[in-house]
C-alpha cells in the first residue's frame, strides 16, 4: 500500500496523525527498539528513522549530538537497514528513512532504494536534496514506489510550493518555521496563513514539524494539518527519563 493511502486510511479514524522521529543507533539500537515499541503501542501513526550522518546541517543541537554519538558508537548504514527490516516486519505502521543525501549517494542511489524497499521502508525525507538536485532520485522513488517526502517552508513562495508538490509523494513535510530542528515554534496567525498556503499548493496530506512539543501544540494543528511531527522532544525525554517514559508521553498527546 502506498504511503499516502496508508495515511489517508488512518485519517478516517483520527483528527490528526502523529509522526515521531528517532536517530538510529542513539543511544543504541536496543533503546531504539524499546522506544519504537512504546511509540507504536501508544498510537503513533508513522515513524521517521534518521540514518546518522556526520554533517547534519539542517539539524539543531539535540539531533546533531545524537547523530554524532550514534556514529561514535559505530552505527553503520548496513545496521540501519537490518534494523529497519526487523522493525517494519514487527509493526504495521509506515516507517520512513530520514537522512542526508550523501548517505544515499555514497551507497549508490539504486542500491539504496532496492535495499530500503526490501526493508519495508515507505518513504525518504532528505532535507538537503531539493528536487532540482534529485532527478535520478525521484525517478528511482517512482520505480521503487518509495515516497519522496518534499518539504515546504515559510520562505517557500506559492509558486515554489506548487512546483515541489509535483515532485513529492506520500505527504508534504511543512516546516513550521525558519531554522533547525529542536526549538519551539509559534503557532500564531502568520502560521495559519502559511498552512493555508501549503494546503492550497498540494493535494498531498500535510505534516507539520519543527518545535512541536505538547498536546496544546497538536490541538492547535487539528483541522489545519494532517499530521504532527514530534522530533527532538522524545530524544530529550529518553535522555532524561529513559525509553519507558516515551509511552506515557505519547499517550498524553492525544
Amino acid at each position: 500500500m502506498q504511503l499516502e493511502q496508508q495515511l489517508r486510511n488512518k485519517l478516517k479514524d483520527k483528527d490528526i496523525l502523529l509522526m515521531t522521529h528517532i536517530v538510529l543507533g542513539y543511544p543504541s539500537l536496543d533503546v531504539n527498539r524499546e522506544v519504537i515499541k512504546q511509540m507504536v503501542e501508544n498510537g503513533v501513526d508513522c515513524i521517521e528513522m534518521q540514518i546518522p550522518f556526520s554533517e547534519p546541517m539542517a539539524d539543531g543541537p539535540i539531533i546533531l549530538k545524537a547523530n554524532q554519538d550514534s556514529l561514535l558508537t559505530g552505527t553503520k548504514v548496513a545496521d540501519c537497514f537490518t534494523f529497519a527490516a526487523e522493525i517494519t516486519r514487527q509493526y504495521d505502521i509506515p516507517f520512513l528513512f530520514m537522512t542526508y543525501y550523501n548517505i544515499i549517494f555514497k551507497y549508490g542511489e539504486e542500491n539504496f532504494f532496492q535495499r530500503a524497499k526490501e526493508c519495508g521502508i515507505k518513504g525518504f525525507i532528505i532535507p538537503d536534496l531539493p528536487p532540482e538536485m534529485g532527478k535520478s532520485f525521484l525517478e528511482l522513488a517512482d520505480k521503487y514506489q518509495i515516497a519522496p517526502i518534499l518539504i515546504f517552508t515559510p520562505t517557500s513562495t506559492d509558486e515554489r510550493m506548487k512546483k515541489l508538490s509535483t515532485y513529492g509523494n506520500g505527504f508534504v513535510y511543512c516546516v513550521a518555521r525558519r531554522g533547525v530542528t529542536g526549538k519551539k515554534s509559534e503557532f500564531d496567525q502568520n502560521f495559519d496563513g502559511y498552512l493555508a498556503r501549503c494546503r492550497a499548493a498540494t493535494k498531498l496530506p500535510l505534516a507539520v514539524g519543527f518545535g512541536i512539543q505538547s498536546k496544546e501544540d497538536i490541538e492547535a494543528l487539528k483541522g489545519k494539518a494532517d499530521m504532527a511531527v514530534i522530533g527532538s522532544r522524545t530524544i530529550k525525554l529518553v535522555e532524561a527519563e529513559g525509553a519507558e517514559a516515551v509511552g506515557p508521553f505519547i499517550a498524553a498527546l492525544r
Binding site: P127, P130, M133, T155, S156
Partner: protein, 410 residues
C-alpha cells in the same frame, strides 16, 4: 556552471528548502552584478582604496638563484588588507550584500583569515556579524578571535564534530536557515552550494588578471607554471582562472599532505586516492569520507587547508586534467617557509607555504628563461602562535610561559 550549478559532474546546490528563495535572490543579484561592468568597477575601486590592489608581483631573486632554474615570481596576496586573499572575496560579497539590502552577515572560518576579513567588511559596511569557528581553530588562532571581537563581530566557538572548518560551515548553515531573511552567509571559499563556487572564484579572479598583466610586463611572456595551495580552492581558482585558456601555462594545485599521503592524517582530496565523490555542505565534490559517506577527520599544520572537501570547479578541472594536483607535508612546509623567510624576507602563511613547496620541488628542473608564479595567499606573521609552535622555538615558549605566570598572578 550549468543552470543547476554544476561544473561537469561537480557542484550543484544541495540546500535545505528554507534557503531556496534566498538562493534565488542571490543568484539573481549575482548575475546582475556579473553583467554590470559598473559593479566590477566599483569592486576594483574598493579594492584599490581600502585594500592595496593591485598587489605586487615580486621577483624572488635569491630563491631563483638558489634553485637555479625558472625565474620565481611571487604574487603578493599577503599584502591585502587583513593579510590574505580572503579580502577579495569578502569585499565583493559585501558589495552584493549592500545591494540585497541585508543587514547581517555570518561566516565560517578555519585559519581565522576569512573570519577576520568578514568582520572587517562588516565593520566597514555597518553590518552585524557573527563568525563560526571550530573550537580547535579557536585554540590555534586565538589572536584572530580577539581582533574579530574588537571589530564588533560575535565569534561563536563550534564544539561539534571535528571542531574545525567543516563543522563551522555546518553551524553557519544552521544560523542561515534560522535568520535567512536579513542574513547573508559570506561563504569563504570556492565551495558550498551554487552560486558560491563560481561567485567566489569570480571575485578572486582579480588575482590572476593582475598576475598575468604583471608577468607579461616583467617577463615578456606567460609563465610556464602557476602554483597555488588548495584548501577550499579560492586562492587557487583566483590565480588559475585567467591562465586556463593559456595553452602553455601549467597550473598546479598543492594540497595539505599533513603527516604524509599514506598516514591517513592529511587533507589530500585530489592528489591521492583517499577521497571519493560525495555530497555535503551543499555541493558535490571529492570528499575524504568513509565507505558509509561519513566525513573523515583531516589534518594539516595549516588550519585553512584542513578541510574535507574541495572546490567543485577544481574537481572538474582535475577531471579534465587542466590542473595538476600535488601535495606538501607539514615538514616540507616548515622547511619552505624557513627558506623563504631567510632568502627573501617574506613570510608566507602556512597555507601559502604549501604552494612554495610545490614550486621549490620543480623550479630547478625548468629552464632559466622560463618563469613560474607562486600565489602567496596570505602572510604568516599573524600566525605566530602556530608557526613559533611548529618550529618549537624555545624562547617563544619561555616568553609564553612567563607571560602566563604574570597573568596568573595578577
Amino acid at each position: 556552471m550549468d543552470q543547476n550549478g554544476f561544473f561537469g559532474n561537480w557542484g550543484g546546490a544541495y540546500i535545505p528548502e528554507v534557503l531556496y528563495q534566498t538562493f534565488e535572490e542571490l543568484k539573481e543579484e549575482y548575475s546582475r552584478c556579473r553583467k554590470d561592468p559598473a559593479f566590477w568597477q566599483e569592486y576594483l575601486t574598493l579594492m584599490s582604496t581600502y585594500s592595496c590592489r593591485p598587489t605586487p608581483l615580486t621577483y624572488a631573486d635569491n630563491l631563483t638563484r638558489h634553485f637555479g632554474g625558472a625565474k620565481i615570481y611571487i604574487k603578493r596576496e599577503d599584502l591585502n588588507h587583513t593579510g590574505a586573499h580572503k579580502a577579495n572575496n569578502v569585499m565583493g560579497q559585501g558589495l552584493l550584500v549592500k545591494r540585497m539590502g541585508k543587514k547581517r552577515v555570518i561566516a565560517e572560518t578555519g585559519a581565522g583569515q576569512h573570519g577576520m576579513a568578514t568582520a572587517t567588511m562588516a565593520a566597514k559596511f555597518g553590518l552585524d556579524c557573527t563568525i563560526y569557528m571550530g573550537e580547535e581553530d579557536v585554540l590555534r588562532q586565538r589572536p584572530n578571535v580577539f581582533w574579530m571581537e574588537k571589530m564588533g563581530a560575535t565569534v561563536v566557538t563550534v564544539k561539534d564534530g571535528s571542531r574545525t572548518l567543516k563543522d563551522a560551515i555546518n553551524e553557519a548553515f544552521r544560523d542561515w536557515v534560522t535568520n535567512v531573511d536579513d542574513t547573508h552567509y559570506v561563504f569563504g571559499t570556492a565551495c558550498g552550494p551554487a552560486p558560491f563556487p563560481e561567485m567566489v572564484a569570480w571575485f578572486q579572479s582579480i588575482i590572476g588578471i593582475e598576475a598575468a598583466e604583471q608577468i607579461m610586463e616583467y617577463h615578456g611572456k606567460m609563465p610556464a607554471r602557476v602554483y597555488a595551495c588548495v584548501g577550499g580552492g579560492s586562492n587557487a581558482m583566483g590565480i588559475f582562472k585567467r591562465f586556463l585558456d593559456e595553452p602553455d601555462v601549467e597550473l598546479i594545485g598543492v594540497e595539505a599532505g599533513g603527516h604524509g599521503a599514506d598516514s591517513g592524517a592529511h587533507a589530500i582530496r585530489l592528489s591521492s586516492p583517499d577521497a571519493t565523490p560525495g555530497v555535503a555542505q551543499g555541493y558535490k565534490t571529492m570528499f575524504l569520507q568513509d565507505d558509509d559517506g561519513q566525513m573523515k577527520h583531516t589534518h594539516s599544520v595549516a588550519a585553512g587547508l584542513d578541510y574535507v572537501g574541495v572546490s567543485p570547479i577544481l574537481s572538474d578541472l582535475w577531471d579534465k586534467k587542466q590542473v595538476r594536483f600535488e601535495s606538501a607535508t607539514d615538514t616540507e612546509v616548515m622547511q619552505a617557509l624557513e627558506l623563504t623567510m631567510k632568502q627573501e624576507g617574506i613570510i608566507p602563511a602556512l597555507e601559502s607555504s604549501h604552494a612554495f613547496v610545490g614550486a621549490f620541488k620543480e623550479a630547478g628542473k625548468l629552464a632559466k628563461d622560463e618563469a613560474i608564479i607562486i600565489n602567496q595567499s596570505g602572510r604568516g606573521d599573524k600566525d605566530i602562535f602556530t608557526i613559533a609552535h611548529a618550529f618549537e622555538d624555545p624562547s617563544w615558549k619561555k616568553f609564553i610561559i612567563d607571560r602566563g605566570i604574570e597573568y596568573s598572578n595578577s
